[in-house]
């Protein structure tokens, strides 16, 4: 049984409407940020969630933790339905599910000391108070590579990489099993990014953690994930073991995403696909397959019929009408 099982999760936001719009009876606009997403994360694995900005990957991460209340769908964590928990039960559950945020500057309260920031979950969950809490906080701080002498400093006294370590310490202090890592290294310079990635992998190994790792960086995802899910406009278009998805991408979006990444060193073995145009607005997503407006392989049926998810191999799935034809954009461009 998976540690986390998400079924048909949707997250819609109601658009704002002016009085005139309301009186004139226009239907309210709805942003479908996440639409019918199903995924599972096994204990001890890293599921990499990849997609471009605005595809709904962060919203999905937050909806799973119920930081946003999902519109529809079910989230099972260790066999209990997170979406149905009462507020006190949800609070207790949050001790086991934590999140690390993208922006190490915006996600730490500038008026609190590190001891207060990292120690807050201990107080909230009634784990420890006073000196005991300070002792645990100091240990966690040392564990993430900071010094316990820095406990009484404020976030502005730290660099970006150190702040991200504080964010990691805060997520770790309640001893969780599952952490949503929401672009934790995107705001960092390359050399610092590598330090944080190494730290996250080390912690996972030592503490037996499970991650949902959200990123737009394919290199990062490819390096640290066991399985990968690719998101486009609120839907998962392809998912599977990292090797299968990266070496043998089947969905045209995954193929073009991979081929857009600049490579270092080795000459590109496969051709390059250029996607035309921009991501369509999630306010008014295309009908049928959401990717058809940019897809070089689109055929008339893609404009009207939503493709179903097909299984292609061991845990490898994709949703595209033309999978059976074995077409690859990468071949065509070679």
């Amino acid at each position: 049984m998976s540690l986390l099982q998400v079924t048909d999760l949707s997250m819609h936001y109601q658009g704002r409407q002016s009085l005139v719009q309301r009186l004139s009876g226009n239907p309210q606009s709805v942003v479908r940020a996440v639409e019918g997403v199903s995924l599972h994360v096994e204990k001890g694995e890293v599921l990499g969630l990849i997609g471009e900005s605005g595809c709904g990957k962060s919203t999905l991460g937050r909806a799973i933790l119920r930081l946003h209340e999902p519109t529809a769908g079910k989230v099972l964590f260790d066999n209990s339905d997170v979406t149905a928990l009462s507020p006190p039960a949800l609070k207790a559950m949050r001790r086991r599910m934590q999140i690390i945020f993208q922006d190490p500057y915006a996600s730490l309260n500038p008026r609190r000391t590190v001891a207060e920031i990292v120690g807050l979950p201990l107080a909230l969950h009634g784990i420890a108070m006073g000196d005991k809490a300070r002792e645990i906080t100091a240990q966690v701080l040392e564990r993430v590579g900071l010094r316990s002498s820095q406990l009484d400093r404020y976030p502005h006294q730290f660099s970006g990489g150190q702040r991200q370590r504080i964010g990691i310490a805060r997520a770790l202090v309640s001893n969780p099993e599952f952490i949503v890592c929401d672009e934790p290294v995107s705001a960092l310079d390359v050399s610092i990014q590598a330090q944080i990635i190494a730290l996250l992998l080390e912690l996972k190994r030592e503490l037996g953690l499970t991650y949902l790792f959200i990123s737009h960086d394919i290199s990062v995802i490819g390096y640290l994930s066991d399985r990968v899910a690719v998101m486009y406009l609120g839907e998962i278009v392809e998912t599977g073991p990292v090797a299968a998805v990266l070496d043998n991408p089947r969905h045209p979006y995954t193929q073009s995403l991979l081929s857009a990444v600049p490579e270092i060193g080795a000459k590109r073995a496969k051709g390059r696909v250029r996607l035309q145009g921009d991501l369509p607005s999630p306010l008014n997503p295309p009908k049928g397959c959401k990717f058809h407006t940019r897809c070089p392989l689109a055929i008339p049926m893609c404009q009207t019929i939503v493709p179903v998810v097909q299984t292609l191999g061991e845990g490898h799935q994709a949703a595209c009408h033309r999978l059976d034809e074995g077409l690859s954009l990468l071949d065509g461009a070679r």
């Binding site: 471009e52 900005s53 660099s159 990489g161 150190q162 310079d189 390359v190 050399s191 610092i192 990014q193 590598a194 330090q195 990635i197 190494a198 737009h216 394919i218 290199s219 990062v220 490819g222 390096y223 640290l224 990292v242 990266l246 073009s256 995403l257 857009a260 990444v261 600049p262 490579e263 270092i264 060193g265 390059r272 250029r274 996607l275 035309q276 921009d278 991501l279």
Partner: protein
């Protein structure tokens, strides 16, 4: 190839409350006509300030303390403000990282493009009506060149009506309006998604080939450099630490920082193998002692590294700032 831009021993300092910061410390570089130079470095390495200095865009409390900047045979630092203004935008143009803040939100895209043409384009006809038509035609042509669909109708739109990738294209169109000899692109794709990044970079390469213009591509992404630049210059804490032909620098780096940077990039092919990050962090630029700036993080550092290190020749057309150059595996 003839030399277009030559910077020698450029120093730019900022007088801050914390003390004097030498953001650019003795940078020398050359760009030939039609060449693409990649400038790589992490935040605070001085890469943007170097080229803001070249453009004469450094403002108080910053100032260029010494160095020479020759562009197309002329010393830019000797130019009067009027001459500099005439050169900037016409012969050298720069695009900024964040297109949304660089573009004026209160002017239409057409107005912003016209500004450049009115300021610099001497080929415009004299008559008022003819002039207006000519400017409009050129604006449409430039938007078309950077791949904006239906340019006629989009000229009347404001920056906020465009997507991030489109705004970056508009900024490139403005920069290219007078067909400059040199385009300085400061992190042109950092704020963009990878599929859009690929479109914009391809556009720059394509226009470069068509107009025969030289490009300086400032970026923190070695992958971008590897695919688009002839030569690369790596900066660290205000200094150039290594330069040379891109492929050689990437396959055989001669400075420990370049090596560390390359080893820090996670790659799917390295799954399961440990990453080797560079330990520590960039030193504070205030009151730096005259010694190798990387030694505190360098796995190869030795006591003798605590001296000021000059650039050494490291093979044909290659230089690196390291005393242990010869010991590099």
């Amino acid at each position: 190839m003839t030399l277009l831009l030559e910077v020698t021993n450029l120093c730019t300092e900022f007088n801050t409350r914390a003390g004097l910061v030498r953001a650019v410390d003795g940078v020398s570089l050359r760009v030939s006509r039609g060449e693409c130079l990649g400038v790589v470095g992490e935040s605070g390495s001085g890469k943007s300030v170097t080229f803001a200095s070249v453009m004469g865009l450094v403002r108080s409390p910053g100032r260029i303390t010494h160095g020479m900047i020759f562009f197309d045979g002329r010393e830019l630092r000797d130019m009067s403000p009027d001459e500099m203004r005439a050169t900037r935008g016409r012969d050298i143009a720069m695009t900024m990282q964040d297109a949304l803040t660089a573009l004026n939100p209160a002017l239409t895209v057409g107005e912003q493009l016209s500004e450049v043409l009115i300021a610099h384009d001497e080929t415009l006809p004299a008559g008022r009506a003819a002039r207006r038509v000519a400017i409009r035609d050129k604006c449409v042509e430039m938007l078309g060149l950077v791949g904006i669909p239906s340019p006629q109708s989009r000229l009347a739109q404001y920056p906020h009506e465009f997507s991030g990738g489109m705004r970056q294209r508009i900024m490139i169109a403005i920069a290219l309006a007078c067909r400059p000899k040199l385009l300085i692109a400061d992190e042109p794709t950092t704020a963009l998604d990878v599929t859009i990044q690929a479109q914009v970079l391809e556009l720059i390469s394509d226009i470069r080939a068509r107009l025969g213009m030289a490009v300086v591509l400032i970026t923190h992404d070695l992958g971008v450099v590897a695919e688009h630049c002839d030569r690369v210059m790596v900066m660290y804490a205000g200094q150039v630490v290594e330069e040379g032909p891109t492929e050689q620098v990437i396959t055989q780096p001669r400075h420990p920082y370049t090596r560390g940077l390359l080893a820090s990039i996670p790659r799917p092919a390295m799954r399961g193998q440990p990453l080797t990050p560079i330990n520590g962090q960039v030193p504070d630029l205030v009151g730096l002692p005259p010694q190798c700036r990387f030694q505190s993080r360098c796995p190869m550092a030795r006591p003798e590294c605590l001296v000021e290190v000059p650039m050494f020749d490291a093979g044909p057309d290659r230089r690196a700032r390291c005393l242990r150059l010869e010991d590099m595996p």
